[in-house]
Amino acid sequence: MVRQLTEIGNNYLRRCHAQVVRCGQAFRDWFQELRSPLVSQTRGVKLLREWLSPEQLTQYDATGYFHVIGSESGKRYRICHGTAMNIYEIDLAGNPRNGLCFVPNAPLVAGDVMLAQKIALETDERGALVVAKKFSPSASAFANTAIARQRVNRIG
């Protein structure tokens, strides 16, 4: 009788233990899935920060964008935090002239995209402009800078 009760108890405990292990694993998977995009975003911004010049880094931290000088034309471009339609050719007064869109052909986080854009414009401007699609910069485009800064602050 005692042996039977012990066996029943042990079986019950084993089932409970297995259930707890399964729940724990499911929770770990769910949590990993939840936090992985944020980890990727953070890693992308970290890489970008490592490759920006001190001036660009200061500007990026303060505004959410940074300026680069085109390797061939000497034109100034503003790269805003984002993954598409985030580059503006700007004039001496700092006003947008043209919007440019070119991105790596793989799904990358914002920091990576911006770094690829920076290197392309600073080392092979012509090549970047060949593939870039132009868009008309709207007045609201520069207002997006504030949104970008909020995003950067959330990530960084």
Binding site: S36, T42, L47, V103, P104, N105, I119, G127
Partner: protein, 73 residues
């Protein structure tokens, strides 16, 4: 330690290797060729904030960054 940094959906993947180790150097060169062959662009950091594109494996480069081919968005 030299580093090869490959941009990917996780942010990046880094491969560290000892540039004085011929085996490690060979592996790094193979990785360079494989990546550039499938369209990745390689850039080495020349000074803080400055980079140069490279089409050949540079065994003396401290840091080489690989990013996918650029296309119009």
């Amino acid at each position: 330690m030299a580093t090869q940094i490959i941009m990917d959906r996780t942010g990046d993947t880094r491969h560290y290797f000892d540039a004085k180790d011929p085996q490690a150097l060979l592996k790094a060169e193979e990785r360079f060729k494989e990546l550039t062959l499938v369209g990745f662009t390689a850039a080495v950091r020349t000074s803080p904030g400055e980079a140069a594109l490279t089409r050949r494996f540079d065994p003396t480069a401290e840091e080489t960054l690989f990013f996918p081919r650029l296309v119009g968005g």
